[in-house]
Symmetry: C2
Subunit: 432 residues, 2 copies
């Protein structure tokens, strides 16, 4: 008993209802068992998992304590001794309904559900405010990296204007191994699936959807204005070839799937795309399935956090920290409120400026570069670097532009398609 | 007025007394003015600097509001409307006395003073506990990087066992520019002094003292057991030559001043030393005056935070986040307590295992390597890699060992001094 020793009035029992016993749920349960005594000593919280909701009987472990598991949500929500409900079932409909009911019945809630927050977050945060309940979600973005707490509590006076994230481990794993020249996209995806770094159906990861949901959450916090999944323009890495990655490497760049949330002239811009990063950029050093979030703000310059972005145990540490944070903040404070206290407009996507990488199959003949450069010049697209590889029918032209508006760039690319020398639609990637 | 809009009962005036108006103090004052409205909207805290204690009249800015500045501490501590006292005067004696008095008089306190915490922290934390006051210190380590909050609040269930830190910007600036081959130690130190990255008297930075104080603070939090400055063995970078850095680079390493806090067999080991890091190590990518803290724990794997480690404005963001955190945690919670709830022993320094880099001036003659290897073998020091540079009198032998106990390594090095072939005391550096 250390309650007195460390200055706390008494140890406080906090009983949790856990919704879902999949990878994350089981990890949360086990981590709470394993760290119980250290958590008690360090925080004065006697943390107990009171009930676990799991409909799939095959997931209930042999030897589970009598009465711990239930397939009936009312056993959790009707139990007045349960203070906190932790949702780790995933999906959006049942999860929404459970969290909604739990908050209306006086529970504080913790969720790891990025899709839910990125699509129906506003309704949940409004309810949390009205019911004066905590709604915490550290585990929804970037696993063990405490980016939500850092942005909400430590960056209060940072003047954040830019958040770049590598927030999808599967795509970073694939791109890292492509960069190391260990195979092409399909080969490495297959290996990632074998090793458990990619799902059997990898669409949500490789297509950018997962990263877009996470960036919607991060942007909402950074800019204090609601961003939902449908506000995020995203593309994935399915069309990135080994040749593209090699050209980028030759030019001193690394290809990463990047989430980019920016405040531009008072408007919010949130996008996810495969991008070239200079090899010296801190995000270029994020390897394998790791995640990282890179923050820029008026007062802080640049701050980056990196770590494991997924996995049951790392994600469980985020859930536990949310539970303890709730147990430690009994008052109605700003952390019980949605961080979106204003409503900003969105900056038009076609006005955003980026530099671009372009790879074109070209006829290797005199005047090709002149023709292309002339089309680009018409649209104010200026070329910073160029390399031509191969000769004759195999010739490829690789260009890096200076920063240019999306609208002008698209128009220039469209116009090159009318040129005889350009044999197919160019591959284009943004440069961060 | 947004208090209702974001679910908070009312906006709450929080009045701060600021001790010191040097670089950090002035930055705290200006940041609070600049961000006042955003802080109010985001947190419901109407933050006001009520009084500034500054004894040096030349530091009081022209046009300062009437009555804001005082040279009398009692004007702050006797003012019942001041809730929080922020200490940014530095030094240990007056600062201790101010914080002690402030807490006894019912104030919560925030400090940026690493030397004070690393030498007299225990007395202050005990007082905070007894008086049920907050004592916050985010700004004492690594500037804008919220490492204290992350370790105390997010790593509760992480099972931390290792903290590596680049926590001194001056030395990292010097070593980065030496790595880039822009000059030797003396030249780059002189340039750093011109540019304001190093003090006129750089002893505390280049000698490792500053980093040692910060590592004492980080280790105390990570391992929940008090570590003071005198428990930290430290050495600096004064003897690291450009040649050493070049050899390290040839072998694939970067030289950094590293703080290493580890739990080894239940004992605490905290040291600061210049070390070789593999170029792929995340800490190897921390350039210039940036800081970074790299955490390893059972449940999190590896998490790293990087950012500006000093500078008035970045450091001020840490102070402001502490103030808001106090304003948001009115209950007696674990954050009001010292995190050191146990008292661990120290792991004997001579038992710690490290790999080593060794540079020796040798006579270039047959059998030199055999003689040296034989001495090493006697002490169980095994050689992993070797390069010899130069011939004749200019010959240098560079070795990297496998991990070996400090005691065995020291004995081996001592014995090589008796060898005819070894012309001077070898340069040795640890490898992380």
């Amino acid at each position: 008993m250390t309650g007195e020793g460390n200055g706390m009035d008494r140890d406080r029992v906090v009983r949790v209802g856990l919704l879902g016993f999949g990878t994350i749920g089981a990890s949360v349960y086990r981590l709470i068992q394993k760290e119980h005594d250290r958590i008690l000593e360090g925080t004065g919280v006697d943390l107990q998992v009171a009930k676990v909701l799991e409909i799939d009987a095959t997931k209930v472990p042999a030897g589970a304590p009598e009465g711990l598991f239930t397939d009936d949500f009312s056993q959790i929500v009707d139990d007045p001794t349960i203070e906190i409900v932790v949702e780790v079932i995933g999906g959006t409909d049942a999860a929404f309904s459970f969290l909604d009911t739990a908050m209306r019945r006086g529970k504080n809630v913790v969720t790891a559900n990025k899709q839910l927050l990125a699509t129906r977050g506003e309704a949940l945060f409004t309810l949390a405010r009205d019911e004066k309940r905590h709604l915490r979600f550290e585990a929804s973005v970037a696993g063990a990296i405490p980016i939500i707490k850092v942005m909400r509590e430590s960056m209060i006076a940072a003047g954040l204007h830019t958040v770049y994230g590598i927030v999808n481990g599967t795509t970073n794993y694939i791109l890292t191994h492509m960069y190391n020249d260990e195979g092409d996209y399909a080969e490495i995806l297959a290996r990632a699936q074998e090793l458990g770094y990619a799902e059997a159906d990898p669409t949500a990861d490789v297509g950018g959807d997962d990263a877009a949901a996470k960036m919607a959450i991060l942007a909402s916090i950074a800019f204090h204005s609601r961003v939902t999944l449908r506000d995020v323009a995203f593309s994935g890495i399915e069309n990135v070839t080994l040749a593209d990655v090699r050209y980028a490497k030759d030019l001193g760049f690394v290809v990463k799937l990047v989430g980019a949330a920016r405040l531009i002239e008072g408007g919010v811009s949130v996008r996810v795309f495969p991008a070239l990063l200079p090899q010296e950029h801190p995000l270029a050093a994020i390897h394998g399935s790791n995640n990282a979030v890179f923050l820029q703000g008026e007062a802080i310059g640049e701050v980056m956090l990196m770590g494991p972005g997924a996995g049951g145990v790392p994600t469980a540490t985020a859930v536990v920290s949310d539970i303890i944070s709730i147990a430690n903040t009994k008052d109605v404070g700003f952390l019980q409120s949605c961080s979106c206290y204003r409503s900003l407009g969105f900056y038009p996507a076609e006005e955003v400026e980026s530099a671009f990488f372009i790879k074109m199959d070209v006829a290797d003949q005199a005047g090709v570069l002149a023709q292309i450069a002339s089309v680009f010049a018409e649209h104010s697209v200026s070329i910073a670097r160029m390399i031509q590889k191969g000769r004759g029918d195999e010739a490829e032209l690789v260009l890096i532009t200076h920063p240019t508006r999306e609208r002008d760039f698209s128009a220039a690319i469209e116009q090159t398609r009318g040129l005889v020398c350009c044999k197919s639609r160019p591959m284009t990637l943004r440069v961060l």
